[in-house]
Symmetry: C2
Subunit: 593 residues, 2 copies
């Protein structure tokens, strides 16, 4: 139907006759001539309709925004003074010879170049929202990322193997989406939370290198930027150490960024232990664009009389730490109050601070409600350790370590970005040496920090039982600019080790057999050493496009209430369908819409 | 951990030291020396353990089949007389220097090179079944096909866009798999039967060229070779005619076969109308490897007295046709009875025949129970039209056209393969000019032959209402060796035409709006002319690998009872899960396992 994309036309086409198809982006009548900006996925080109060509002119007259038209014409220079250097086709235009309306359009509910749309109307008219150049770019970039990942993985011997979507419910981790079986009455499939067990089985099968870009499902309470279904770049390999896996995976990420973004990432990525990440950044996904780090003060506060600091320093698992903000002395009372409010989200009961107005005048130059509770040598040591300079401000956190880390870690990121300390760059790193387990206060038992198939460090196998809290794993997370974009580990390939982990997690044999029996069986038939990783594709693409919301990089996302505004899914279904599936609705649970 | 794959070692590695990891495929003690065939995904290499190297030898002694080991050693020529030219590494072996057992294995329930396994045991121990070289090859080939398709589509400007898995139930076509929503009480998602509506919306959005290799779900009564979930190469384009789409798609298929199979497919693919396909082959997916065609006799039987033929010739929609089998006169009574039994599956009430023993002796040379009912000039005309030669046999079908076509069409394929008429080759074609609708006897109404979004031929739009049975569509099926591997069409892009089709299908406006409202709305906002196709990946790969069952090209398939023998999905779930999903089990529907 056409010879070229609209967006491809430039000076190289001068004097050529082209046929273009696209949407009427905008129509202007100007000096008896009609101008149409014609848009397709590649861009926009200006079409001119001269009244001398009556047929074409009259057709152009009846077009409206978003009509679909086909135009043939000659490419020519724009007249002097009408050149638009801002766009690719800005110095040419197409003089229309023939035009045909391929389809009409109602007046759309919004302009395609409006950037201030409510998300509700965007999701309801998603097919129009996706016409907007920003959304076209997002999904095109997403395609490029997937394809670049596939090419890299294919070149490195990874085989794309599809694993089932209708699989078994294992109520571990998040809630499953269930699918009632018609053929097997009263039984249910579950949609996969990840292909974890299947990819491990594929290693037992000897496929050696597996990957899949695959949909995963979690029926979680939806937070700001979560989707019921999301996409993982899922990878597993055999006979590689964690160093080799990490090396290969950062090569992949460097190639993706080079291919798609023309960005060069660090080589190698820095690696930091979980313990150091918490110590310096209060977070297991540190944003390295921000140069600020926490200062440890727990040891220093063992003997002070200031009860808030003393208690935190003395309770087991307590921490006192500081965050020094360069030029923070200029913060207003209101700003400090806002930050105090902010850290309270993380459970912090307050946010003590010292303003370092002028170091040259000794303690006189400091300003703080807590100065009077601290001995001078402690204050001097705080100034020394934080490296505070005149004009800085020091914030303090004192509580259980988790609260201090969460609060100061989040404050570090917030202030880092708000006050311009963050570099405008891409800062990837690996976090390694994670603990195997974390203590679940509510359930009063150890939980796997990653998942129960994560291998402990070889020398830590005995700790699994004797001191589970000290056992470190062979897990690794890839973090980029403060976001965990991938997580993986070397897995357990020996059944004896797997049993010890279940024992540490207090999972009885029968329960393990019931849930994961097929994996445990498989481990007994020559399972090779193996490990892998899974990357969150939605999140990576969102970061690359610079959007805050993964909904902007998913063609048809759900709302936070897990609804599709376009198709109105989920919806009521016919009684006959339920009967076939051997289920009925609960009487008192009314449909909400 | 290793330097190379086992299967990669050949003469080029002579005198080199390699480190290999893999599975003990077979161990032999021979003349005081231990030989281990070491297997990985790439192939097998022979390792020799000399008793002089005591440590390695003793480790080798305790290995058993399917142990995972790591071996270092020097590559050397096999001694004279022990060379095995049948395998890639057949003229070399690795003299083991060091060996380490990475994991042990229980005795597997079957040998990895056993080719006579029951499917039950294969599916239960799928992780071992997938170790078998045949299955490794199948899944590797599947990966190559997907990747080749992606590369082709990417190079031709197609964008991989993911569409939702949790979508809306539209009880049309097959039964949906439903997913109860927890957040939206008493409402259900459906798993997609295909991304049809979403890909059309993406065309409305201007993406121009879309593809996705995606999972689809149909809760159908399972026939021999169906799976509840299957994979489609799903494609849609804008601004292309059906000729252009077909041309592009056969280019893709030619490239897949060239890249993956080193097979050159016809260029261009032959095209045949639906009417001709039925006329000549009794099938809309003719197997062109078989040169036999049906012979039309309906006109000839208008005046015979033989009631079976006369009735079929005279009823509306009746057909009398013949299938001439070269050298078929040698068929035994028993063989003819078996074929008669075979066609009865398709509703044929009998299978009349004439044996053409000797044409030189006139009617004397023919042998048939029906000869006496047919006038001589009719018999002569039958011989002339079928082109029967001495030694041939002519089968007859006389009934409603559907029964005649189904019966003789199937018989043609069966005899073609059984009696050696089928070429050993790849014979693709397009079937085009399908009817828009077929009459549903049970429901007493027209049904869409493809789906209700298929565009009628432009000149047939008026027929939609005046004579729906005569309206032809712009649909096209790609057929390969008697199997429909892809089906598609130019879609309706104008709402007025879509309404007419719904009218012909007797779908009221409200129902159409309820089910497809979002598509109908979208068509009003500048939908471009568009069309596409979907290929069945499982089927294509099964054909390429030469297996009869798509289960052999799916890593973790379901049984015909839609169960996974490995994970035991579907399974019973906790009452708490059902409560959260606002459903309960029907009291009288008992679990079946």
């Amino acid at each position: 139907m056409r010879t070229d994309y609209c967006g491809a036309i430039n000076k190289n086409f001068l004097e050529k006759t082209v046929t273009l198809c696209g949407w009427v982006h905008r129509r202007r009548d100007h000096g008896g001539v009609i101008f149409i900006d014609l848009r397709d996925r590649d861009g926009i080109v200006q079409i001119v309709f001269d009244p001398d060509n009556e047929t074409a002119f009259h057709t152009a007259e009846i077009t409206r925004n978003e009509f679909v038209i086909k135009v043939s014409g000659r490419v020519r220079h724009r007249p002097e003074g009408t050149v638009n250097p801002g766009i690719f086709s800005g110095d040419i235009e197409v003089l229309a010879d023939q035009v045909e309306i391929l389809n009409t359009s109602l007046t759309p509910p919004f302009q395609m170049d409006d950037e201030h749309l409510s998300e509700a109307i965007r999701l309801e008219y998603r097919y129009l929202d996706l016409r907007r150049p920003a959304m076209q770019r997002n999904l095109l970039l997403r395609h490029k990322v997937s394809m670049a990942a596939r090419v890299f993985l294919d070149q490195h011997g990874f085989i794309d193997i599809e694993t089932p979507m209708l699989t078994k419910s294992t109520p571990e981790g998040a809630r499953d989406y269930l699918v009632p079986s018609r053929v097997n009455a009263c039984h249910f499939f579950a949609l996969p939370q990840s292909p974890q067990l299947f990819k491990q089985l594929l290693m037992v099968s000897g496929f050696d290198r597996y990957y899949q870009i695959t949909r995963c499902f979690r029926d979680e309470d939806l937070r700001a930027d979560r989707q019921p279904e999301f996409t993982q770049i899922d990878i597993e390999t055999s006979f590689l150490s964690e160093d080799e896996i990490m090396g290969l995976m950062e090569n992949m990420m460097r190639q993706l960024f080079a291919d798609v973004m023309a960005v060069t990432l660090a080589d190698p990525f820095p690696r930091i232990s979980y313990a150091d990440a918490m110590f310096y950044y209060g977070s297991d996904k540190p944003d390295l664009r921000i140069p600020l780090v926490l200062t440890e003060l727990t040891d220093l506060m063992q003997t002070v009389t200031f009860k808030v600091f003393l208690d935190a320093a003395q309770i087991p698992g307590g921490r006192v730490a500081a965050l020094c903000i360069p030029m923070g002395a200029e913060l207003s009372r209101k700003e400090i109050d806002d930050y105090t409010q902010f850290v309270s989200i993380y459970g912090a009961k307050g946010l003590a601070y010292i303003k370092v107005n002028d170091l040259t005048t000794g303690l006189e130059g400091l300003q703080s409600p807590i100065l009077k509770f601290l001995p001078e040598q402690v204050i001097q040591e705080i100034l020394k350790r934080t490296g505070a300079k005149s004009g800085d401000l020091i914030f303090f956190g004192a509580d259980k370590a988790k609260i201090v880390n969460d609060a100061l870690g989040a404050l570090r990121v917030k202030i880092g970005h708000e006050r311009g300390f963050a570099e405008n760059s891409w800062k990837p790193l690996w976090v390694v040496d994670f603990p195997m387990f974390e203590w679940d206060e509510e359930e009063n038992r150890w939980q796997a920090l990653h998942h129960p198939f994560t291998s402990p460090k070889t020398s830590h196998e005995d700790l699994l039982i004797s001191d589970p809290g000290k056992a470190l794993s062979r897990a690794y997370d890839m973090v980029l600019n403060g976001v965990e974009i991938g997580g993986g580990s070397v897995r357990i390939h020996q059944q004896a080790v797997q049993s010890k982990v279940f024992q540490a997690l207090n999972i009885p044999d029968e329960e393990a057999q019931e849930k994961f029996g097929f994996l445990l069986d498989a481990l007994q038939y020559g399972a090779p050493p193996h490990g892998g990783i899974a990357f969150g594709l939605d999140r990576i693409v969102a970061m690359m496009t610079g959007t805050d919301s993964i909904r902007d990089v998913i063609a048809f996302p759900k709302t936070q209430r897990a609804q599709c505004m376009l198709t109105h899914a989920p919806s009521a279904v016919a009684e006959k369908q339920l009967r076939e599936l051997h289920i009925r609705l609960r009487k008192n649970d009314q449909p909400t819409s």
